[in-house]
Symmetry: C2
Subunit: 121 residues, 2 copies
């Protein structure tokens, strides 16, 4: 079994398999915004995440189904941590894992560049 479906040694190319998989997730609606909100160690509860996304995007609201799905997908890929505090009522916070923080940094040049061209065009 190849690691992550990648068999770099036999190819003249770098292995794009993990890049493809991560890009597929990152390019889904709201993924970048979520990663951006949570970057640099920020912690959010579910409702605060949702209302912060709505503050930034007035005309387009994220549904609970989509937000839950994105949070699950980002967690499964190891980018997001869900922390449950033993309180009553239970408190749940989301934050980026180390891998998630690294992804947010790797995404920065791409996001910065697309913002730049958006204002040039």
């Amino acid at each position: 079994m190849e690691k992550n479906g990648c068999d770099n040694d036999n190819r003249i190319f770098p292995c794009f398999v993990p890049a493809q998989r991560i890009l597929n997730l990152v390019s889904k609606k709201w993924s970048i915004q979520l990663i951006y909100l949570l970057r640099e160690g920020k912690r959010f509860r579910y409702n605060d995440l949702k209302s912060s996304l709505h503050l930034g995007w007035k005309e387009d609201k994220i549904s609970d189904a989509t937000l839950s799905t994105r949070l699950l997908e980002l967690s499964k890929e190891g980018f997001l941590l869900r922390e449950v505090y033993p309180e009553l009522p239970p408190k749940v916070e989301y934050r980026l894992s180390e891998k998630g923080e690294n992804l947010s940094k790797a995404l920065e040049p791409l996001v910065d560049w697309t913002i730049k061209i958006c204002h040039e065009e």
Copy 2:
């Protein structure tokens, strides 16, 4: 009408609209490989592009339909130039535009990072 659907001034977030659109294209199968092949001023004819992609990806061949579609999509977004030389038979070469070269550079940290984690995991 907003530029690229982006209205940055009214939002607490940077504008992710162009990032989303570009990521949607880049995350399609073979896009990154094509951009990677053509980076740094390289020029390819259609059949050379196809055979180079096949050299790198033994188990997975790109179809003519997919390759043509990706070339068209990348051209439409302004990343790719199609140059026709007035010869007989006509010679057509593909290369990245300046915008395409900038995209390839903006993608580098993301691709490098996913390659790195692919070999760490």
